[in-house]
Subunit: 294 residues, 4 copies
């Protein structure tokens, strides 16, 4: 179920560069192994128990987990639970379609039995998810992000830590009441994918972000909480699970207005992905954010 | 108490580029705030409860923790416990002395009372010790490593994970029975200090490393376990706490021979620091390690 | 007069990323000052005496000269001769249109009288066109190529030198009979523009290039000589002044078949520009060229 | 004939990192082929007709030419003239000695007859000495500077162009009356050697440079003209051929006082080389120059 931006000529594209789709996998369902040049990620909205097999490494998925997959890696997936699951698929399909750089190949027909296990942590996490530590034996990575899962547990703690530091009077947040982390490739400390930036933002109850305009487009999902967002001249309310787009050079602001049925924290958690790495690599990035150079 | 290499003309230098000293701090003792261009680190050998204040951020220290400090950051330290403590001080003093790039300044006379707390985690760790996550608000760091402590808990787990992966048949270790992690700057994914590389190696009981020659010099400390080491033509036994040097282009091999009184794991844990970043930055690195280009 | 690729939906785009147009300027004609984020260049096909004013620096233009202009620099032009002139305008308009990163501003209405001179060399060339030499005073350039003209004299000599070296038995050419130079930013040694690569190829009489497929699209102009080109399944003859396109992942080969009316050298000189920097920056480059990694 | 700095313990070192020697080669004299890890260059003080063979490429030498040689390239030299010749040999011997990274090998015993020619331009210059142009066939260089000679003709013209631009009111010089160019690797646009920076400075008659302090050491040679220099507290007069050293963090200023017997231009031409790339690579550079960050 792909988002289709009505201003993009009928194609199922969320923005001129990004594809976003909600994917459901039924219990026991497999998807065959394949690979493509498109850079991709999954962000889990609901459920747990499904895993993705990337290069033969089974990666478990739970609500809030972020799973990047750099282009041209073999991958498949399998739902080992009794319940359906939902995640966001984000890819740079529109960009690669427009620039004519897409390649695709099918791999093995079946997932091996020994890949059907559901490990607590993938092999990639056991090698690469230790803060500030690189494995000496595999320190050089040819291409692509070696860390295949960013667990919600760490993301949530990093956001909470920023707000605690802010409460103690130290610089940590984007602005008071607005914490944010960026997912990065631990082997290079650059964006998690060559063409896609991904971030998680947390706005405390009542906080409204300062409007910012940037070149490049973003897709947001309300991961938790509710509130209102203003894009250009339009304002609307959003709640858990909603997806929306901020087009290039449109002003954006969000307001946290969590209600009774929202999470205990009362915060608005916004998952964001954008094409910022393309703009930065080609010197086309421009912003009105304070302190930024245009 | 600095190591003096007898071949270096009477100066208290461990190698032509590196300084190594064992430092003891008595209960309640303070060291006044200062800064210097030398890149430095502490690696805690015994004890806990002392903290270092770097840029006003109190950083707790426990056995096995690694605390880097890039040049020209203000720092002081204080022993809040009832017991003495010991750590290794590693610096690039000989290199900066030889190249005449040293600067030093005294800072505040006293440590502020609100810096005398002993937090569980420093502010730097709360901002930067989340695997694969950067704070958006402070993503650009001008200079120097923003992560001021690498806790033993993470280092130990990363080494154990590598050996488990090896046992499952996956590539993870330097060679069978030899796990190793490198401390890196999470903001840049490069060596933890501009002139100093630091690593922790774990050799399982009975493992002997393949001899390797490299340009550049290293200092090792036996963090845990015991065994024997061969440097060039000489072999000797080492045990917990021992320090030794591997000079440039001298063959090095270590053998794990943990005895009854050693740690449960029976492994030989070797902390290593070297001047490799200097050699790599200036294209002077050369090695006989398998698969390496000289 | 812009090239319109019929497969690109009626827009005047040469390829999905590149715009190519032949521009004629009448004697005495001025174009007012403006700037835009699009990266642009001019390559002079016929005539001389016109100059471009970039940031107040008058740059003379003659047949064979290549004049790059990184985005967001002020520029204007003026024809100081009694004859019309023709050049190729190459820009990344389709790419910036698709990614929604375009900005445009008008500048001064008039060109100043002291800019109407026709210098032998622009200020930019006097600062930056000395081989292997940087001005110490302006060694750091914020953004954009500081060298505003690549004179035909140098390009021609570099190509001739490669063929002479080949004749002496030394490696210099792409393949025997095929010399090629790439225009680079002398301050960074990278492609001449962030999104556009430009090259001049010389095929000696009778030489046929080995077919190559690459991701990304190219526009070629026959600068001198004549021959035939094969793109995918189609082959046609080309002669001086002809423009043609090689789409992404289409095999390309050219054959030099200079006739009696062609230049003395009998060589086929092909000017080429492409979007290769976009593909390389985003790890989407792929080629079948010998020795290349896909 | 090596410079020995009396403060460096009796070793023939000009500074803690740099070696400087005046070398004379008699008519017909050969030096056998060898290579070493030390980065080296020659700067020709007097004479012409000698050439260096680097990797089998004969490189002619004339007064004012600068010939870099990155470490580990085979080289030899031969004097084909009837007169002796003199040049400065500059190397990073003290640095590599101190850091224990030196390697040396002998090569062929004899220079081949076909290498005894004296070409007008070396092969390296025919490939790489075209401003802003890279050979496509050899665009990637593994290591080391591919341009083996920087002819005085280009250096002189670049300096003259800067002073002309200054006279026309445009920014080009370090300060009024002080032109300067830096020799760079054309393939990378970085310093000409990994550990050595080289520059030529021209001070018009009567100009005195603003005093500057920098970390790192420099060696200067008066290439032409005469004047006085102030290093720290000491001032002395210098004339053509004189060599002197500016130690780390010592203030330096020069004054052009060309007399009747000096060159027509009346300018003071100072050749300078320093260890700045070492300091910049390791974040140890610091300066009091205007506008610089320390």
């Amino acid at each position: 179920m792909a988002l289709a931006n009505p201003s993009l000529g009928g194609r199922p594209f969320a923005t001129p560069t990004l594809w976003a789709a909600i994917q459901y996998l039924m219990p026991g369902e497999d998807a065959p192994e394949h690979r493509h040049t498109q850079n991709a990620f999954r962000f889990v909205v609901e459920g747990q128990g499904v895993w993705t097999v990337v290069g033969g490494d089974p990666v478990p998925m739970r609500r809030g987990d972020f799973l990047p997959q750099a282009g041209w890696n073999w991958h498949a997936h399998h739902n080992a639970t009794q319940e359906p699951m939902a995640w966001i698929d984000g890819l740079d399909i529109p960009f690669q379609y427009a620039s004519e750089s897409q390649f695709f190949e099918f791999g093995r027909n079946a997932v091996y039995d020994d890949e059907r296990i559901t490990p607590e942590r993938s092999r990639s996490e056991r090698l690469w998810a230790h803060p500030g530590l690189h494995p000496v034996a595999v320190a050089r990575t040819d291409y692509g992000n070696p860390l295949l899962a960013y667990k919600w547990e760490y993301t949530n703690r990093a956001l909470a830590d920023q707000l605690t530091l802010e409460g103690e009077g130290f610089p940590a947040t984007v602005e008071p009441g607005h914490a944010a982390v960026r997912y990065v490739n631990p082997a290079t400390a650059t964006d998690v994918l060559p063409t896609i930036r991904a971030e998680m933002h947390r706005l405390v109850r009542g906080h409204q972000t300062t409007p910012v305009r940037e070149t490049g487009s973003s897709v947001y999902q309300v991961f938790d909480g509710s509130g209102s967002v203003t894009v250009g001249d339009q304002t609307w309310t959003v709640t858990r699970g909603d997806l929306f787009v901020v087009p290039s050079w449109h002003s954006f602001s969000a307001r946290s207005e969590a209600g009774q049925t929202d999470s205990d924290s009362g915060a608005l958690d916004l998952f964001r992905f954008s094409d910022a790495p393309i703009f930065e690599a080609l010197h086309l990035d421009r912003t009105t954010a304070k302190g930024a150079t245009s």
